[in-house]
Symmetry: C2
Subunit: 414 residues, 2 copies
């Protein structure tokens, strides 16, 4: 072996970065838990049939699959297909395993059930910056509550969680799939065209109205309908949520979204919570409110989610309303790292010599542990090189001798 | 889909159990970190060549492997072998990835480097109670310290960590591979026989001396040598570590192990730290001290480790001493769960009604969050059924109305 890099598309994390990531994860979990959500854990290995039967879209193509083991793997079989050699899949998200978990344990769980999952998912994406093949997802979901109070509970928890990791100036953009559906139909498109039109509308913030028009023309749609749709979008963008009522039987939806936005704005005065007709969210399974969170210093969304009332029925046979949010762990870690600039930990290297009384050494270690994480290091010959390297794992240092002479601890990083 | 169970050999965890497991994990990590060890993370997917080139033994047979994706998977190739269709492996332990990580980042890391890894490994074991195919390992390792101070630092941290999760009455049994090697040779066996004889000696606590004798006879060894080996073991068992000095050039080893045991016994008066000639540890890679930890209420070891000075050289080409410990997460969780008897969490269900002022509801939620994790629940029609089910996720409950009338919170579990 000459190449010791991690496998393609996966990262390994050095002590400082691993510590920050662990702290972020812990802060997120603490905030989710304080708001009454319940941690559950499901396996990374998941039933292939289940994974493949979902609305996974592109994710199905990116799935890691394990091969059959032992005698089950018969490579001599004629006309071998992939199905003959695969056993399980690595999950590509936490939502499908959650649906399976809920179906499996429904009898034992209260309704509504509020879950937390913070764990790994896998997708064989083309390796690129910020996109890992093994990545952490931080999901909360509410199962069994069809009221807008579920969205309120979820977004309240989400906003508090972003605050807990130190992010200010949040913008929460909220839309509703029924409003999107209604305006597309009102413009004259057919129900079966809603999905492809929404895929284009999803790009509104990137390619602007002109780009949307162009893409819809390219897709072969009628210019009259496109122009009408653009007029509607511009009307709603200019006149706000209430303007949407004109375009369909949307009174209830508009009132609910209005209540959600109004309540959140009162509860969180320093953030901006607003209706935004351009929020679509990719996944096909959303049925109601959809939302994305943004903050200064990061161009894309730092999290998003929505209501998906039909998904559970597919798995369980009985319907169950659901709403969920996925907090973007990677962008949040990136933002937290920028803020901390490496000065997070409180680690001290305590240097001792072979001749020091070993009980004295451990007594001093315990004293210093009141204030620091304390790592013992035996004095080395080349201490200059040592102090240089130790910066990777410690911020402070002192020797047993200096400590006994009441000298102060030295800072390793300035 | 009719079957919603997790995949064969893997478990999912309901809220109470998941919360306990998370707390145990966190306590272990806190204690490791307080003692100056550094969390790192490495990917679950690992280079197959690397995984296969290690002393993995049986683990190699139990490895999960992923299939090639897209065009790389050619099932029409004649005489297809497993190698033609596999891409990566799921790691079966954290030691091999750690060795790769160290080789990859050696220039940036101090020596000694003290690492923490708390993460998943995978083995396709025959499903059985207490043996998961996806399981958590909690390892600490010291790389680059050949002195007995490394074992002392490691075991000091380990004992404090078991104490932190609430385990008392620890017995730490320590042996040394050089002592084992010496007595086997002294009894007249050949160097190449040491390994198979140690495999049998490893069972001493389960099958006693008579069982060991029988197995060695079955393996075809000479009874004179076997009897001599038994005499030596009985001598050392009766007369302690110093008796070992008779059987080889073991003065240094015996003195070091004596120092380790003596120092730990002075530092941790309430536990038992002792030499035990029957501790072997399965893995072939150990070269020096080996140890296992036991406690009341669990028959097997709750963790173990040892020195493996030759392993790094295999990967990096340059030698690097190493000593590590794996804390048994599953037995520890089992013991903690028994102690807690389910009464760990501090979760409260706050019941509100549609007519309650929503800002009042959230104000009360924040007040109660000073003391509890607070989950909001809209009042339901069938509250009896609700209270029954809510026990899965909450210990206490109160309604907004009762709270405003200064009534006390109700306990859900007695």
């Amino acid at each position: 072996m000459k190449n010791f890099n991690p496998v393609r598309g996966c990262s390994e994390y050095m002590p400082r970065q691993a510590a920050i990531r662990e702290n972020v994860k812990r802060t997120i979990l603490n905030s989710y838990q304080a708001n009454g959500y319940n941690l559950i854990t499901t396996p990374i290995l998941e039933n292939l049939e289940l994974l493949s039967s979902s609305d996974g879209g592109d994710n199905l193509r990116l799935m890691f699959k394990t091969i059959k083991r032992g005698e089950k793997l018969d490579l001599t079989k004629p006309n071998l297909s992939e199905q003959d050699i695969v056993e399980e899949g690595l999950r590509y998200d936490l939502t499908v395993p959650l649906a399976r978990f809920f179906a499996n344990n429904r009898e034992k769980l209260p309704t509504p059930f509020k879950s937390i999952q913070i764990d790994y998912s896998f997708r064989a994406e083309r390796p690129q910056k910020g996109r890992e093949r093994q990545f952490i997802q931080c999901d909360i979901d509410v199962f069994g509550d069809s009221t807008i109070f579920a969205e309120l509970d979820l977004l309240y928890t989400v906003i508090q969680t972003y605050e807990a990791v130190g992010l200010d100036n949040l913008t929460v953009k909220i839309n509703h799939r029924e409003i999107l559906n209604a305006i597309v139909l009102f413009a004259g498109f057919k129900p079966e065209e809603i999905s492809t039109i929404c895929v284009t509308l999803d790009k509104l913030d990137k390619i602007a109205v002109s780009g949307v028009v162009m893409e819809l023309i390219e897709k072969g749609f009628d210019t009259d309908k496109i122009n009408k749709l653009v007029d509607i979008i511009e009307d709603i963008s200019a006149n706000g949520l209430v303007a949407a009522k004109k375009y369909g039987n949307l009174d209830n939806v508009v009132d609910e979204i209005g209540f959600l936005i109004g309540t959140l704005n009162t509860l969180f005065k320093k953030h901006t919570i607003k209706f935004d007709i351009s929020i679509v969210r990719g996944q096909g399974y959303y049925t109601g409110a959809v939302f994305e969170v943004y903050t200064d210093g990061f161009s894309g969304a730092i999290g998003g989610g929505g209501r998906y009332d039909k998904m559970l029925e597919k798995f369980t046979g009985t319907s169950c309303p659901a709403v969920g949010f996925g907090l973007g762990f990677e962008p949040v870690c990136l933002l937290v790292e920028q803020k901390l600039k490496g000065s997070l930990t409180n680690k001290l290297a305590l240097i001792y010599e072979q001749d020091d009384n070993i009980f004295e050494v451990y007594r001093i270690k315990e004293e210093l542990k009141q204030k620091y994480s304390v790592s013992l290091f035996l004095k080395q010959k080349n201490m200059k090189n040592f102090y240089e390297k130790i910066k990777a794992v410690a911020d402070y240092t002192i020797s047993v001798k200096d400590y006994l002479e009441n000298k102060p601890v030295k800072q390793l990083i300035n």
